[in-house]
Symmetry: C2
Subunit: 304 residues, 2 copies
């Protein structure tokens, strides 16, 4: 069993029937499961969480993109969130028995199909990026749909796949492989947000900390505590426990207790296995977890 996760973002957060039609495209496929989907009217954007076996997932994502291009017209789209395409961004995340390299390969297969069959320019981003200035999604998206009609003429922004002109209604799409992102908050027993900020600086990559950590200090007004709010962009290389222990170490310096932590949203089993393996001084893998063994059987059985 090989599983990839994808969290495609579509530029429709108001017309529920449109989002449902896009979701329905994924549900047509065996061994592709929609774990969650949500829409935001202010952002005018929807986010769908899918897990599936690689080839079927890629086909599902292609069909979802095709449907989005049919039903969404960027010329009439307004919303708070920056966007450049009907299918705005499609990340592929290695979840189970799949490498980042495989996800990069699949992102190229998907990108090529979107470019060639739908006539939508595609940019490969993150781990799939073909040049450094395309790693960061925000850099690609700068100028948004409206700005892309000029931007695409710049040889620096020639698309990786598809035509050299913006699709008139569906814009352009970013596709890329990346690691699962874990949002992790740690509460400190102090009202002094400066201490949370100092700890955030100590642990984050941008100011000398851990490679795959972004962090800020946040004041939880009225709760009498402050928080270090963290994104771990590669939890395999910068695991949860190392971030937590480093925060504890730095907090001790200020005599501030670490009250607790919270992982926001869903997280992969592997992040738990790495954490338990560290603290119990062992080396656990998913095959030993009953629920994983069962999942493996069910995925095999799921060929309809």
């Amino acid at each position: 069993m090989k599983l990839i996760e994808s969290v495609p973002n579509f530029s429709e957060g108001r017309r529920k029937e449109v989002v449902e039609k896009i979701v329905a495209e994924a549900k047509k496929y065996d061994r592709v499961w929609v774990l969650d989907w949500s829409m935001d009217a202010d952002h005018n954007r929807s986010v769908i969480t899918l897990v599936g076996e690689p080839e079927n997932l890629i086909n599902a994502l292609f069909d979802m993109t095709k449907k989005a291009a049919e039903l969404i017209d960027l010329r009439n789209h307004t919303g708070q969130h920056p966007r450049m395409g009907a299918a705005d961004v499609i990340p592929l995340v290695p979840l189970y028995n799949t490498t980042m390299e495989e996800c990069v390969e699949y992102s190229k297969i998907l990108g090529r199909r979107i470019g060639e069959e739908l006539g939508i320019p595609v940019y490969l981003y993150e781990k799939s990026a073909t040049r450094p200035e395309r790693q960061n999604l925000a850099d690609i998206r700068r100028g948004e749909f409206e700005g892309f009609f000029e931007k695409i003429k710049d040889p620096l922004w020639k698309p990786d796949f598809g035509p050299d002109r913006v699709h008139p209604t569906a814009g352009v799409t970013a596709v890329g492989a990346r690691e699962f992102l874990i949002a992790f908050n740690v509460n400190l027993g102090t009202r002094d947000v400066k201490i949370a900020e100092k700890i955030a600086r100590a642990i984050r990559f941008s100011s000398g900390g851990l490679r795959y950590v972004k962090a800020i200090g946040v004041d939880l007004k009225g709760k009498g505590v402050v928080q270090v709010s963290i994104n771990i962009t590669d939890h395999k290389r910068t695991p949860l426990y190392r971030v937590f222990e480093l925060i504890k170490m730095e907090a001790e310096r200020y005599g501030v207790p670490v009250l607790g932590s919270d992982i926001v949203g869903l997280f992969p089993l592997e992040s738990l296995l790495k954490t338990v393996s560290y603290y119990l001084r062992t080396d656990l893998n998913a095959k030993k977890v009953i629920e994983s063994s069962l999942l493996e059987i069910l995925v095999r059985e799921s060929e309809k």
Copy 2:
């Protein structure tokens, strides 16, 4: 989704075709999955690991018991492992969204059917036991198949279900609800097995330690290390991390390092969640684990 685990033991470890026929009875059912099965010729015994939704699982276990009673004749059975029935013991373990109380109820439903429909005397054991001397399986099984023809006449050993006489070929069966048992070994950086024995004594219930811990000190000959070998009989009430931290604490007293640990065999996701929640000072549950969410969907889908 509610899931129960069962690990029934059958008194056949040599004739593969017999065990396969017993396993096949489980595979007939929707939402019952055979995770693993193994047979041991010396013990002349097989162990099957099943997970399933409660009602289907109970029906599968009944059919397996019926098949075992048809194919196994205890009068001709020899093996190193003590045994009293063709289906020797059937534990029910709450795995997912199921309480111990529910498992006790299901064990009674299963026990009644085995007793009444198959004419096999049934003893409820562990959490299902109807009197204290029946909690421990070894106490029930004492005397084995051959001894039960006398033992059953003692009013103390009147069966919970079924006739007051031993089934002539299929013997008697124990059915009961119990917690998942975790086998956990911790290696110490010393050659002195006395230190492992002292730590085992310090942590185990029988000599004043943690309620659900059994432990012994073991010499891993030739490896230059010794081991504290542990059974945790209720990991929800005596969680893994507490056992491990107590061993670390006691080992420190002797200046002996804890080199590592190992969990033997499969273990439930919940044991990981409890451990991570302790160390990261949080409170995680299975619904936030991607693989669990997917499992939930697949179990729902699995209605054939």
